[in-house]
């Protein structure tokens, strides 16, 4: 069966510091991968998605970037965090009409 992992689970970072969030998927190959951000109790905003290694589509201009160095690994990064980057970050995978989500990372920028 397929599983998706995200780490860290929580992160507190100062403004201006770098960021690296990691997502890995097991039990499938060549999945589509996604990064979302969620404000408290609200819907999900699509940040990036990838249909293959090295192929990244950005949905909104922002302070973040994404990379897919391996088939089942998706990384969300920033060189300098802003206060507005705080939120709940979710990674997801799909191979068709359904998406499956990881447990999320709670990021607080102080």
């Amino acid at each position: 069966s397929q599983t998706i992992h995200q780490w860290p689970a929580t992160l507190v970072q100062p403004v201006g510091s770098p960021l690296s969030l990691e997502c890995t998927v097991e039990g499938t190959s060549n999945p589509n991968l996604y990064w979302y951000r969620q404000a408290a109790g609200r819907g999900l905003q699509l940040l990036f998605y990838s249909v293959g290694i090295g192929q990244i589509s950005s949905e909104v201009p922002q302070n973040l970037s994404a990379s897919r160095p391996q088939d089942r690994q998706f990384i969300l990064s920033s060189k300098k965090l802003l206060l507005s980057d705080s939120g709940f970050y979710l990674c997801a995978w799909s191979q068709g009409v359904e998406q499956f989500f990881g447990p999320g990372t709670r990021l607080t920028v102080l």
Binding site: N32, G41, L44, V97, Q99
Partner: protein, 112 residues
């Protein structure tokens, strides 16, 4: 503006009551999903509908996809406290395969 509009945003009901959550758009979707999310966790997929007019049932939950594939509804019969959570709809546009757009969510609280 949100591609998918969910209503209501908040719903607080007593155990045993029925409720309906709506997900509406002016866009056509090739598929639409409903998720439930607990605080601090990732959304969990409940159902996927792909055919206009399709109705799916999951125990006390009934999901319907609009004939024109622009809207959907989730009906819960005899709600229980365990149904409490954030309900999210998400659609995959016909013109944007592999991209999923989410509604703003409906926060449901079922009181015992």
């Amino acid at each position: 503006t949100q591609l998918l509009e969910q209503s209501p945003q908040f719903l607080s009901i007593q155990e045993g009551e029925n409720l309906t959550v709506y997900c509406n758009s002016s866009s056509v979707f090739s598929s639409l999903q409903w998720y439930r999310q607990e605080p601090g966790e990732g959304p969990v997929l409940l159902v996927t509908v792909v055919t206009g007019g399709e109705v799916k049932k999951l125990k006390r939950l009934t999901f319907q996809f609009g004939d024109a594939r622009k809207d959907s509804s989730l009906h819960i019969t005899a709600a229980q406290p365990g149904d409490t959570g954030l309900y999210l709809c998400a659609g995959e546009q016909v013109s944007n395969f592999n991209k999923f757009y989410f509604g703003s969510g409906t926060k449901l609280n079922v009181k015992p």
